[in-house]
């Protein structure tokens, strides 16, 4: 949050910069330019400066995005301080932290937070591992390697609403493929999406199916950028394939892993579509409720707008906790 405010402040500084630099250059002109023929007004020069010249390009998109993203977050914060619920307009005259206190007393909140973190850790770690294995498998001379890549990435191109339909069918208690498969080994059948113990694992499995192709693509791009000499040098050093990957190649995938992790964690935080479609609405089975679903349910299901906003703000703060170090790190490395 502090970082965010700093950013905002630096923006304001930037915007104030135009007239300021104009003034200093004006002073300089008085000092050095003793009556030469070219007289350009300070206004004219200000118009020619790069910040003004470039403004028509970035300012309109910035204002549109800024309004919908940053103004909306500010507004959301304001709403979370009101008692706004039901129909009608929010009352902004009486602001307080009551919604945040209410969160502490809400057992559903604790359950949702716990589930969010389980989903976040389980989903992210499994996705990173599966994606890495896929990438290592494909990063060699293979016929049809592009076709394999295209197939593995295919689920990622589909809507969660679509994939949720497929997985409901896969997890179906009576004749779902999963139960039929484990039935071969004399197990089950289990109610994958009905049992509070199993449901979160089942959701994570389905999401890994959908996202591992994404992690694979990120790793593959990083693997492709490693020069061939390094493989050859490692081989010339007599390293076995496994050791070569472990000692030489995988350490170089760190930046790719970091950026994939950020994306996966942020997705896990806001995963809503899949759960909504899997459980036909705002109410996931007990054991699968996460902050994102609870937030939408409180606001749009129960019209507890203010309470929903306060959960939304929690989500935002959690995301900031991931984004800020990431962006700062990227800035430090000059990747921005």
């Amino acid at each position: 949050m502090k970082r965010f405010l700093l950013l905002l402040r630096s923006i304001r500084r930037t915007q104030g910069e135009g007239p300021e630099s104009e003034r200093t250059s004006g002073e300089r002109r008085v000092m050095t330019d003793g009556g030469t023929s070219e007289k350009r007004s300070t206004f004219q020069r200000w118009l020619d400066s790069d910040i003004v010249q470039s403004a028509p390009f970035w300012l309109p998109p910035f204002l549109l995005m800024g309004f919908f993203v940053y103004a909306a977050i500010g507004w959301n914060f304001l709403l979370s301080l009101t008692e706004y619920s039901g129909f009608g307009d929010p009352d902004y005259s009486n602001l307080g932290l009551q919604n945040y206190w209410a969160m502490l007393d809400d057992p559903g909140m604790w359950a949702a937070t716990r589930n969010t973190f389980v989903l976040l850790v389980g989903f992210t770690v499994v996705c990173l591992i599966v994606g890495l294995l896929l990438a290592l498998l494909l990063d060699r001379e293979i016929r049809f390697s592009r076709s394999f890549r295209t197939i593995y990435l295919l689920p990622f191109a589909l809507s969660f609403i679509v994939t949720a339909q497929f997985w409901r069918w896969m997890y179906n208690v009576n004749n779902g493929i999963i139960n039929q498969f484990i039935g071969v080994f004399g197990l089950g059948p289990y109610s994958w999406l009905g049992s509070p113990k199993l449901v979160l694992g089942a959701v994570i499995f389905a999401l890994v199916w959908q996202f591992s192709g994404y992690t694979m693509i990120i790793y593959l791009a990083a693997l492709r950028s490693i020069p061939n000499d390094q493989y050859e040098a490692a081989r010339a050093d007599g390293a076995s394939t496994v050791r070569m990957y472990w000692r030489v190649i995988i350490p170089q995938l760190r930046p790719a892993m970091v950026s994939a992790t950020v994306t996966l964690v942020l997705f896990a935080l806001k995963a809503f579509d899949f759960l909504y479609a899997t459980f036909d609405g705002y109410r996931p089975r007990r054991g699968a409720d996460i902050l994102a679903t609870k937030m939408v349910r409180e606001s749009f299901g129960r019209s507890e707008w203010a309470y929903g906003s306060s959960i939304a703000l929690m989500l935002f703060v959690l995301s900031l906790g991931v984004i800020t170090p990431y962006l700062y790190n990227q800035y430090k490395r000059g990747n921005l």
Binding site: R28, R29, T32, D33, T36, S37, E38, R40, R45, D48
Partner: protein, 390 residues
Amino acid sequence: MAETQLDDVRKVFTETDGNEIVAVNDVSIDIEDGEFLVLVGPSGCGKSTTLRMIAGLETISDGDIRLDDRVINDVPAKDRDIAMVFQSYALYPHMTVRENMAFGLEESTDLSDDEIAARVEETAEMMGIDPLLDRKPEELSGGQQQRVALGRAIVREPAVFLMDEPLSNLDAKLRAQMRTELQQLQEQLETTTVYVTHDQTEAMTMGDRIAILNDGELQQVGTPLECYHEPANVFVADFIGEPAMNFFDVTRRDADGDGAVLVNETLEYTVSADISTAIGDRDDLVLGVRPEDISIERSEGDQRRADGHTVPASVTVVEPTGDENIVYLDLGADRSERIIATIDGMSQVEAGDRVVVHVPEDAVHVFDGETNEALHNRRVESNEPRVPNV
């Protein structure tokens, strides 16, 4: 065509952590109309920044740049009537050669399409690139791209040409050829040209005058021969000439009459009255002599000539280049000083030879050891200028 003046031009970069770096420090140069000026110096000396300030690609922190007495500090690059040739050529990859050349005329003039087409054809013909007009840059060789980049600048008939190391991406042979061609072209067009390079060969052979920069400071502006024979300071003396001038840190000792002796642990060099006068009472000095001014004589044992201009030495390495030999020698009994001499390619010297090195007095330079400024430069016979050895 225009006269260009740099008047105490200064460029300060502010780093993100607030540190200020002076890239160009109060540089003043008057570039005459039609002149070919070469800005030369080691990398990071501020030569490119200076060029980019003339182009309008960098703001000027202080001072003025004038084009025909008009201050152009605040004129945007696009309105300066300046054309620039970049090291990477910076051709527009999606346009054909014809479109590349026409672009500047379309953007900066009101010429009709026909007039533009005619001018492009004419310039392309002059540059010998007319067969390439309908190709894209990626289909051209490096040398052809270089020509197109030049053509693109020439077709605009700008007041000033700026060139930022335009030949450095070419191979050695092509570079030598383009050097000559570029010079002829500039003489023919009579357009003021500022040419940046780190290569002193280019500087010496191409420029009407050269301006030598180091650490953002202008060291000397002068014709190539002036800079070669009358370097303003140790930096210029060292930078211009290949192999570089030999330097010895010496102190002064009074001698008989008006002369003096410059001494260090291995060297005792007698100088006559006019050099002694130039030195004055300074004590911390640098003696300089160019490798080609040194002659080597075979010696028997350790003998010195009576004039005090010789010193015994032993040859360590001989690098034959064909027309001449570059000889590396260790001076004195303890071999603590090293000296380089270039001698005739036919003379027979081998590593290990004991020789006597002769340094003629009219070829020596003396610099102030503290300020590095030149106190005395070699004598130049005005009617017969020596061809510099670069």
